[in-house]
Every structure is written in C-alpha cells, then in structure tokens.
Symmetry: C2
Subunit: 159 residues, 2 copies
C-alpha cells in the first residue's frame, strides 16, 4: 500500500490552516467531499496522478435526483486534509505508525497531490463555471475541523 485515503461527503466544512500559536485562519467549503490523505513508506510521485484520477472521478456525490456522480461532474468542492494517523496499525492497546512515510517525503507528495487536484479543477469547465474550489489543510498541523453532513457516506480507498 502506497497511500490510504478516506472520503466523507459534507454540506459544509471548516478546517484551521494556521499553526496553534498564530491567529486562526480557516479553509472552508460548502457542499463537497472531504479527502483525508495518508502516504505510506515507499510511496513516490508516480502514485499521485492515479490517486487524483480515481478520487475525482469515482461516483460518490449524490445529485438532487438521488443518483451518484463524481465530484467533478456534480460539481462540488473538495477539502483535502493531511491525516497521517490513517496509516496507524493497532498493536495491543497502542497505535503504531511504522508504515507511514517520513515527514519531508510526505510533505512533498501532499503538495503534489494538492497541486494536481487544483489543476484538474481549473481545467474542468463545469467546475470553473460553478465556481467550486479546492481547499486544503497545512501538512504537519493539528487538523482542527468542523463539519456538517447529510450523511458522511464514508469510503476508504487504498492505493
């Protein structure tokens, strides 16, 4: 496994993107998908285009008619949340993170992932016309998050 991603649908979400000691700033989205991302040991940049292609095209967003389409096709917003804890493995009463990528490599892959999502949204006419956005958390921060859902409709996708 090179990466583990969790998807939750939201009506709105707000994530703090500043460090605890700074004045709070937030990344906010209205209706869309939360994408929690964790890269594992050995992951390289090759995996990122495949991840973005899958995540932006998998049909998990509900239309007003109750059908499911991709986030690009709805279109809806995305909020990307770095979430290293997703790579943890329970051992006895403790969680271990031996399979997680190192901080510098993880930060670089995360930046590449965010940039590619932003590019795909910018190239998609439907997204541009609808004004939907890509927002993201700050790698290494505590991810202070509020969300409001009409069903988190939680999915896990491993790469």
């Amino acid at each position: 496994m090179a990466a583990r991603v969790l998807l939750q649908q939201c009506l709105s979400a707000r994530l703090q993107v500043t460090e605890a000691e700074e004045a709070a700033e937030y990344a906010e989205i209205q209706r869309g998908t939360l994408i929690y991302v964790c890269f594992c040991k050995g992951a390289t940049g090759d995996i990122v285009p495949k991840m973005v292609n899958t995540l932006l095209n998998v049909k998990l967003c509900e239309t007003n008619e109750g059908n499911y389409v991709s986030v690009l096709d709805l279109p809806a917003n995305i909020l990307i949340i770095p979430q290293a804890t997703l790579g943890g493995k329970a051992k006895g009463r403790n969680m271990q993170y031996h399979y997680n990528i190192g901080k510098e490599n993880g930060k670089a892959l995360y930046a590449q992932f965010v940039a590619l999502c932003e590019k795909e949204f910018a190239l998609n006419c439907r997204c541009v016309e609808a004004g939907v956005v890509v927002r993201h958390g700050t790698y290494g921060n505590r991810q202070v998050l509020q969300m409001d859902t009409n069903g988190p409709y939680t999915h896990l996708i491993e790469f």
Copy 2:
C-alpha cells in the same frame, strides 16, 4: 476481514436517529470518540467482544497533558455510527459493496455491538462517576451528522 471500524475524536457531535419522514431526534455527545462500524460478509457474533475490547481500550484519547489513554480511561463519550459504505471497494468509477454483510445479520451484530459497549460503560466506575455515555445511530438510516473536532485524529482498525 469480518469488520471495519473508523475512529474519529470529537469535541461534540450530533447524529439524527429518526427516519427522514419523522420529527427529527438526535443522539448527541460532548467530547469523545465517533465509532463508525461496518460488518463484512461472514461476520458472526464471536467477533463483537474482541472488537469492543480493542476499541474501548486502545489509547487514542488525548488527556489535558497531551498523553493518550483509552476512551474508558479518559473517560469520554462514544457515538456509534452504522456505516455500511466503509465496506465498499472501488472498481473503476464505481464503489461495490459485495463484501458487506446482509441487512438482517448486520442489524443483529450492530445491536450486539451497541449493547456490549453500553454494558462496558455501565460496569466501569470511572465512566459512571463521570457520567459519560454511549449514544448510537439507527441501523439502516441515513446518518445525518454534525461534528466539531480539535483534530479528527482518524484511525482505521480492521478485525
């Protein structure tokens, strides 16, 4: 795999427990752990005590001093959310749920899981004294959820 569980820490959370057409009623907790549960095909009641033992004792709750203890030891509340979508597997642009348990068996295991969590909380003096609670969603419902976190601190545990 018999079950997949996702854990998120929250400062507060509110889950609708009535059907859409009824007057809305909510299960609410203050600080604690959200436990999203999905049972897979072939799961039996034997797995439930092991799941509850692991989930209530794994050290994922942060104390005011920044240490990590179990939800029973903090102690904090839990909100159990049935989340069948967690068992989905991406195939092309679609999610498939071939590995999920049937509805009747899933409902029975979910009820057993909730009952055992409630029993463990009721037997734990620290939980009783602190007045922490077990709340849960209605199996088969759309899980309309709001949550506020100081870091969702998301973990996956498979059984």
